[in-house]
Symmetry: C2
Subunit: 143 residues, 2 copies
């Protein structure tokens, strides 16, 4: 099992995908008027892409159009102080093709918020990284 | 109670701070070699600043030095599909003053990971925003 310099377990691609599949929501990281921005979103996976539904006039829709974004999901257990985080980085695009839209509308992706969410953002992960804090490692190790 | 264009409840500063206080961990959003980056971290609040502990040689330490970063915490309930998110944006700096370091070392901020975390990053929030998905709003409203 490989570890990074911080002693965190490095997760392989298959495990990263399985963890993303298990996550009810994630966070999209982008730039909004030159400032770092982050927004929690629910999502679905489709053919190796991350699919997000938002409202057409949203800040998220405007700021992610054609941008390179990060998408993150994680789960931590505050009792055992263990957990994992997966980050996918890649270009985001607005889905405009009617056939593609019809397909995405069939995904189990029901918006949590109250507004109309008929705008689909599709992120193609080009860099996928995952880390896990293993159990019983909360005592600092000597450098 | 004010709502934004997406129908999410806009949280006031006092509530944002109370929610941050309640969160066991958050996520720091920064730029790493021109790419969006995000890393879960545990943290403490001190005099209105967000305090993060990391290892001196970490990517986080290098990439956040003097940068404008975002810090996010959230909590969502997948059953009721409600929850909140708070984002603080501001400059991050490495704490080097010995007196300040001594004070921060007294904070209840124990690293979760296994490596040495004797490097303190201090974020001064200049923009604080919070949103909540209110209950019973999962049905889209007409535009």
């Amino acid at each position: 099992m490989p570890f990074d310099r911080s002693g965190l377990e490095i997760l392989g691609d298959a495990e990263c995908w399985a963890l993303l599949e298990s996550a009810p929501l994630g966070r999209i990281v982008f730039t909004d008027r030159a400032l770092p921005a982050i927004q929690p979103v629910n999502f679905a996976l489709c053919d190796g892409d991350v699919i997000i539904r938002t409202s057409p006039g949203s800040k998220l829709a405007a700021a992610t159009r054609g941008a390179i974004v990060a998408f993150e999901a994680d789960h931590f257990d505050t009792t055992t102080r263990t957990g994992w985080s997966v980050v996918a980085i890649g270009p985001a695009r607005t889905v405009t093709d009617p056939h593609e839209l019809t397909a995405l509308q069939q995904l189990p992706l029901r918006p949590w918020g109250p507004s109309v969410h008929d705008h689909f953002i599709r992120i193609r992960p080009e860099i996928l990284t995952g880390r896990r804090i293993p159990a019983n490692t909360t005592t600092p190790v000597p450098r």
